[in-house]
């Protein structure tokens, strides 16, 4: 196939190669580290680095060990030429995916192998340019934006009768509100200060009575409607917010762990709290204010023009000014409010952090520093709070002044008209009252419009989470697996938490059903990562993991997780009783089962001595228990789960050797017929293992039984030697 213009990136304009171009990649850094364009071109069997001002060429065969070496913020494609390292091209993270693929390709080509560019076609949203997940077409950023209002309205759907009721109430309320000022006209012109024909006093008294009754009735009715309206809208708004909040929480439970790796927990929490809170205020208050104010504005406007359109025109004079001033202040206000919220959440974060780390603070006598840190942040918050209020106050008085301008104009112009008897006194009075009512919704609206746009942003942020697809998701053709035998296979598995920084590299491993595997290696070698992949907390970058011969991606997650029991390295217990924690994965466990699990984990004896036994309440994160006790509860929890695959990540690292031996014996009985993967630094922990797997810097370097590996005198032998020496020293010291 001839791809003359270059692949996957186009060749720069006007550049030609006489031989066929097999690969062309554009890099975005120059050799000196500044931004600029360079191209890596493979044409025929020549590798060319093309710069704006020249080119360097190497014969493909002479480039040995091409590597995409990661650096902070990007990478360098390096190779050995005549035994000397050369840096071919430099690039930022934007291009590093492509260059690591290119490195693999160069490696194969330089060995004379046939290979094709397999890099995933990196797709970007055609509209906004956001990089899309491979295989998806829906952009998570721009697609949902335009539909926010529609979606919000969608949440209203189940409650449409209430929503319609609410709208009717709003209209009624507005109409009622328009009545009282109008009563001014008959009050003045017929009762108090009639001109021309004057009715007898009794009739005027009677009319006064009627007017008072109408006024009183309308006020009572308005109060009732207002109350009903407030209640109904609160009901509706809270329902909808509750719906959204629950959806959000539900979704958060299923999002992949890498979603959380990338974010601070604090910002996720603030999304749930702040954004749904804002949404609630918006739905409960702003929406109905928006409706009522618009109706009011319209209604009053119509009445004013109907009463006297010439005078009404004067009323409109300050209107554009009010809107303008409100807009101008809005920008400042938004900045301050944003700062205020930001500082508020920072203060909260500090508070929760120091309170949970109180022990450390005390231990290192850092109370004064923590106090002053808090004081400082609290002060910043107070200061911003004042800024916000000041901006509000200024904006408010500014607009009030402008509004008064309108009233002043009407006084003067209208007063003259009354004096020249062009309109009646009653008309002016009623008019003035309407004018007073006219500006309030106008001012409110100019704020509300902005406020709504803010709330819509909050809604967008919430929807953004709702639209984030769980990265680890059941495939459409996922198969149920009611009973897993326990065969686990790793085939060329590579994985990194951050792209292009592989933690596991081409791992191959086969675990037989019922086998106990000991995973050993230095800290940071990738042991926990390996089991994270088995549990499918993360998906592999390349290669495949199979359980019972079925690719992990094809197994229903529920089935997989239900049959894996894990005792994680850092024990996490929920606040609740000990029994609740043990039966976390099996809430319907009987007392007997709980006790049996505790016995296997060797936890029974210490639980016995707790004042409330199995009903002892432990605090958040397992406060009130020793580390070893927490670990044993975690073991009991995994045991009660009765898994087909048991994973013990440093499960007994915090208990003494004797207790460990007892737990091992119990687990030994338990694990018969179950696949077990155990990780331990204390190598004696793994003496029951059928086979040991040694990991080093993300690669499997040795596999075999304990004796085989000792004989081989390789990596494991060295580990054992150091371990022995250290234990000997310890023994002497004792």
């Amino acid at each position: 196939m001839g791809r003359a213009e270059g692949f996957p990136d186009p060749l720069p304009e006007g550049v030609k190669f006489s031989e066929q171009v097999r690969l062309c990649l554009e890099a975005d850094l120059l050799p000196d580290g500044s931004f600029g364009r360079q191209w890596l071109v493979v044409a025929g069997d020549q590798v060319t680095i093309l710069r704006e001002d020249g080119r360097t060429t190497f014969p493909l065969r002479e480039l040995k060990e091409p590597k995409a070496e990661p650096v902070v913020g990007g990478g360098i494609l390096t190779a050995k030429h005549n035994g000397r390292p050369v840096e071919l091209v430099h690039y930022t993270n934007s291009r590093s995916g492509k260059f690591s693929e290119a490195a693999k390709l160069l490696e194969k080509w330089s060995r004379g192998e046939e290979a094709e560019w397999e890099g995933k076609e990196e797709e970007r949203c055609p509209k906004c340019g956001f990089p899309l997940e491979p295989g998806t077409k829906v952009c998570p950023v721009c697609t949902p934006k335009r539909r926010t209002l529609v979606r919000l309205a969608g949440y209203l759907k189940p409650y449409w009768p209430q929503a319609i009721g609410l709208s009717l109430l709003a209209i009624l309320n507005t109409a009622l509100g328009l009545l009282p000022p109008y009563l001014n006209k008959p009050l003045m012109d017929e009762v108090l200060a009639p001109k021309g024909h004057v009715a007898p006093l009794r009739e005027r008294l009677k009319l006064l009575g009627i007017l008072v009754i109408i006024l009183a009735l309308s006020r009572v009715l308005m109060a009732a409607v207002g109350a009903a309206q407030g209640w109904l809208s609160a009901w509706l708004g809270n329902r909808i917010t509750h719906d959204i909040r629950s959806r959000l929480y539900h979704h958060l439970q299923y999002l992949s762990l890498s979603f959380y790796d990338r974010r601070q927990m604090g910002t996720v929490i603030s999304r749930i709290n702040q954004d749904t809170g804002q949404l609630q205020r918006f739905l409960v208050w702003s929406v109905q204010d928006l409706i009522v104010d618009s109706l009011l504005l319209l209604g009053i406007g119509v009445v004013l023009f109907w009463m006297n359109w010439k005078l009404a025109l004067w009323v409109l004079v300050p209107a554009p000014l009010v809107t303008f001033v409100a807009q101008a202040f809005w920008h400042k206000l938004r900045l301050y409010m944003h700062r205020f919220f930001y500082r508020w959440s920072r203060l909260n974060a500090l508070l929760s952090e120091t309170l949970s780390g109180l022990k450390i603070v005390r231990a290192f006598a850092q109370e004064p520093r923590e106090v002053s840190k808090f004081t400082k942040r609290s002060w910043e918050l107070a200061y911003t709070g004042v800024q916000v209020e000041r901006a509000w106050a200024l904006a408010f008085s500014g607009t009030s002044l402008l509004i008064m301008l309108g009233t002043i104009l009407v006084w003067y112009v209208g007063g003259r008209q009354v004096l020249f008897e062009r309109i009646s006194l009653g008309t002016l009075m009623a008019f003035l009252m309407y004018v007073g009512m006219f500006y309030a919704p106008m001012r409110a609206l100019s704020w509300l419009v902005n406020w709504c746009s803010r709330s819509l942003t909050a809604a967008e942020r919430v929807f953004e989470i709702l639209d984030t697809r769980p990265e680890v998701e059941d495939a459409e053709d996922a198969v149920p697996m009611p009973r897993i035998e326990g065969r686990i296979e790793f085939r060329d598995v590579s994985f990194g938490y951050e792209k292009n920084k592989p933690v596991l590299k081409e791992v191959n491993l086969e675990v037989r059903p019922g086998e106990m595997i000991g995973l050993v290696g230095h800290s940071g070698a990738g042991k926990t990562t390996t089991i994270n992949l088995i549990c499918r907390f993360y998906d592999v970058d390349s290669g495949e993991i199979l359980v019972d011969g079925v690719p992990l991606r094809k197994i229903r997650l529920q089935d997989l997780r239900r049959q894996i029991g894990i005792v994680p390295q850092d024990t996490f217990l929920f606040s609740g009783t000990i029994a609740e924690n043990i039966s976390y994965a099996k809430p319907d466990a009987t007392r007997e089962e709980i006790i049996r699990a505790a016995k296997i984990a060797n936890a029974h004896d210490f639980i016995l001595r707790k004042p409330d036994g199995y009903d002892t309440v432990i605090g958040e994160g397992g406060q009130g228990l020793s580390s070893g006790e927490k670990q044993r509860i975690a073991i009991a929890r995994a045991v009660l789960h009765n898994p087909r695959i048991l994973i013990l990540d440093e499960a007994t690292s915090q208990v003494d050797v004797e207790t460990e031996r007892q737990i091992q014996e119990a687990i030994g009985r338990l694990v018969k017929g179950r696949t077990t993967i155990a990780i331990a630094h204390r190598l004696s922990t793994l003496k029951n293992a059928d086979r040991l797997v040694v990991l080093k810097e993300g690669r499997v370097v040795e596999v075999g039984t304990h004796d085989e590996l000792m004989e081989k005198k390789g990596e494991f032998y060295r580990l054992v030697q150091t371990y022995r020496e250290v234990s000997k020293v310890r023994a002497v010291e004792r």
Binding site: G36, V72, G74, P131, V141, E460
Partner: protein, 186 residues
């Protein structure tokens, strides 16, 4: 009504007592390379180091405090990944070494510093930035900064959609327009 104007909060916090310095003997593994006995040189695509007459080829350098002190405390690592030692101050080296080391650091730690924000456009929930950095002009996309930005005092760091990080060492030092643009989106 009072208007506060920043400054110190009322009633300062008590100061903790002086701390006891760490005894020097404790830090046996810690080798600070003496600038006099040190020479960095470039050799083809890689960096070499000569210490006390001993030559290391293909050394890697890692800034240990890239944000708070980008020209100090630089760890030098040999081909096998062992630390040879630490350069305490880049400026104390002779000019030739300084140049070689600086060049290498710039390649190994690609976090552009933003000097000026030319423009900033929001569309469909992404912000498109056009900035001037210490590595030249750059155009990139970010999501709303509120999510990704890290604030450390006056410093602000944020990432674009590809995971590249950008550094604003001191927000106050930017020109008012750039600052306003950044503050609008963060």
């Amino acid at each position: 009504m009072h208007f506060w104007h920043g400054g110190r909060p009322p009633g300062g916090a008590p100061k903790p007592g002086p701390s006891i310095p760490l005894p020097k003997e404790l830090s046996t593994e810690f080798r600070v390379l003496k600038p006099e006995a040190l020479r960095f040189f470039r050799e083809g695509g890689s960096l070499g180091l000569e210490v006390d007459g001993k030559i290391y080829e293909n050394v890697k350098v890692v800034p240990l405090f890239p944000l708070s002190d980008d020209e100090g405390w630089i760890s030098v690592i040999d081909e096998d990944g062992r630390e040879i030692g630490i350069v305490e101050r880049l400026r104390s080296l002779e000019p030739e070494s300084q140049r070689a080391l600086r060049e290498e650091l710039r390649k190994r730690y690609v976090v552009p510093r933003i000097l000026k924000v030319r423009s900033c456009r929001e569309h469909f929930g992404l912000v498109e930035w056009e900035v001037e950095t210490d590595r030249g002009p750059r155009r990139f996309l970010t999501r709303n900064l509120r999510e990704t930005a890290q604030r450390m005092g006056v410093r602000l760091m944020f990432s674009d959609v590809d995971g590249n990080r950008y550094d604003v060492p001191d927000l106050r030092a930017l020109d008012p327009k750039s600052r306003a643009l950044i503050e609008r989106y963060s």
